[in-house]
């Protein structure tokens, strides 16, 4: 399948600081692509370059296979976007805000009611946007991005500042976009758990560099599971296993061994049973995405 978004060695410098470095993103049709990275990683900077709001210091952006710098208007017809904090005209109503974009794109009037109901803002449509809550402003932003029936939606932290119910609602909404409306999505976030819920593909950016790109399942496979053994007399059992060359750690009265395959697991159980330890539990524990992320960056910092 073709790439809706492709960046080639995309680089952006601010003064001496390289904020985005040699980024090669590939976002395919039908995906929800989670663009993940901690605060200050360069997500917004990348998204601005994808939309032509700022220019790369080096490298290229292609949308729908066409270079952005000489096909900007043509490809932007097919893109809806929400960049960072929501944009709005506070002294106008929600409906008037949408009317501004509708006119610009020359769309039929009914489209406004359609997108309003999509994001469930119909009731608040005639209220001034400065009186909207942050969540309502976010939803208005999404409505405006959807107005032109885009093939690609680019959303920068759309759940920022929402309450849990609002976050859940937006996530479900985003997950449904490819199937229900044929809209592919690039959505940025600094929360791994969020990506786990809605993304099919993930790109992880850290200090401006892409440290992982692939499917969520590949990401999960990338780090092998750990096996947890519940054993009687764990301290003694640890000694015995260590004396036979296994790397065993003892945590909260249970034994943990990294990266075992089936055979090795069976060997260990056999060994423990022969040495007359009672083995009451053997369990495979998949690492959380948090842990995977920490391993990828090799840093013990929280997101």
């Amino acid at each position: 399948m073709s790439n809706l978004i492709q960046t080639i060695n995309l680089t952006r410098r601010y003064g001496k600081q390289i904020v985005v470095k040699d980024l090669n993103l590939e976002v395919k049709q039908g995906e929800v692509y989670g663009f993940l990275g901690p605060n200050g990683a360069g997500k917004t900077t990348t998204i601005r370059m994808l939309l032509g709001l700022i220019r790369p210091t080096f490298g290229e952006v292609k949308l729908f296979g066409k270079p952005l710098n000489n096909h900007r208007r043509e490809v932007l017809w097919r893109v809806g976007a929400l960049v960072e904090s929501p944009s709005y005209y506070g002294h106008l109503t929600g409906r008037e805000n949408l009317e501004v974009t509708r006119r610009l794109l020359g769309l039929p009037r009914e489209r406004i009611d359609e997108v309003l109901s999509l994001v469930r803002l119909t009731k608040a449509a005639d209220k001034k946007v400065k009186k909207y809550s942050l969540g309502m402003k976010q939803r208005l932003g999404i409505a405006s991005a959807l107005l032109g029936k885009p093939d690609l939606l680019i959303l920068d932290e759309p759940t920022n500042g929402l309450d849990p119910a609002g976050i859940q609602e937006i996530r479900e909404f985003i997950m449904d976009l490819p199937k229900q409306y044929g809209i592919s999505v690039l959505v940025s976030s600094h929360l791994l758990s969020e990506m786990e819920q809605m993304a099919t593909q993930v790109g992880i950016i850290h200090q401006g560099k892409l440290i992982f790109q692939g499917s969520i399942t590949t990401l999960q496979k990338k780090s092998r599971p750990r096996i947890r053994f519940g054993v009687g007399d764990p301290r003694e059992a640890q000694h015995v296993l260590q004396s036979r060359g296994w790397q065993v750690s003892l945590q909260e009265g249970e034994l943990w061994i990294d990266g075992l395959d089936r055979n090795a697991t069976a060997q260990i159980v056999e060994c423990l049973v022969k040495e007359h330890f009672s083995v009451y539990r053997v369990e495979e524990v998949k690492p959380s995405l948090e842990e995977i992320f920490l391993r990828l960056t090799g840093k013990e910092e929280s997101l």
Binding site: R48, L51, E74, L76, V100, G106
Partner: protein
């Protein structure tokens, strides 16, 4: 062309019309009323022409240049305050067209301001019953000259409004540079090249052609080109980070 018209009609939706009206009315009223109530009888000259000259001095010294700046800032303000630029600039329209739509609005405002000024003066002369007559031609020529002469300043103000997000900074710059324009206008070598003095010089009533008074047409043209092209290049090339 359709895109340009759509952009202009959007500017119209966004605009707070009552605010524009207030701004347009203030200058003419505060310059026309004092000029007509003032006693000009000590001179031999045409009373009405004296009154008009006084009104022009008031209006074109402070109100017109500052109003132009306020309009330029207002046109950008709706995008400046709540992230409107990024929303507007990710739409499939060229930045040049957006720039032109803003310019068009500014042209419209400044022209309307001239119409208001002239109308206020005419209504005022009737109201106060000033006897002398004045040639329409002189007044209309003065208004048109003033409008043309404010265009370099208008383009410059638009550029400045792109640069600063706040309303205050461009406003303060504008006042600080407008006040000395009355001194600048005294100087024949410097005045005609000072954008804040140009409208005043151009509006001084005279018998010649449009823009014939004391400023050369080419000075205005060069001013429009420099400030217009500068602002346009800045706008289409700038990194939009807000």
């Amino acid at each position: 062309m359709t895109v340009f018209l759509r952009l202009v009609s959007n500017e119209w939706i966004k605009l707070q019309k009552w605010l524009v009206l207030v701004l347009l009315v203030v200058g003419p009223i505060f310059s026309v009323i004092p000029s007509l109530t003032m006693d000009h009888s000590s001179t031999e000259a045409n009373q009405l022409l004296m009154a008009y000259s006084t009104a022009v001095l008031q209006y074109a010294w402070i109100f017109f240049p500052i109003l132009t700046g306020v309009f330029a800032a207002l046109i950008c303000r709706y995008e400046h305050i709540n992230g409107g630029w990024k929303q507007l600039l990710v739409q499939p329209v060229s930045r040049s067209q957006i720039y032109l739509a803003k310019v068009f609005l500014l042209l419209l405002f400044t022209a309307t301001s001239q119409i208001f000024f002239v109308s206020a003066f005419l209504v005022g002369t009737w109201w106060y019953g000033i006897g002398d007559s004045i040639s329409w031609e002189i007044i209309i020529r003065s208004a048109i000259s003033g409008w043309l002469a404010v265009l370099p300043l208008a383009a410059l103000q638009l550029w400045i409004s792109f640069l600063w997000r706040s309303f205050g900074v461009p406003f303060a710059i504008n006042i600080a540079l407008a006040l000395p324009s009355i001194l600048a206008a005294q100087s024949e070598t410097f005045g005609p090249y000072y954008p804040w003095a140009q409208p005043m010089l151009a509006m001084v009533p005279s018998e010649g052609d449009i823009l014939d008074a004391s400023i050369k047409v080419w000075v205005i043209l060069v001013g429009i080109l420099i400030a217009g092209i500068g602002g346009w290049l800045h706008f289409i090339r700038r990194d939009m980070e807000w």
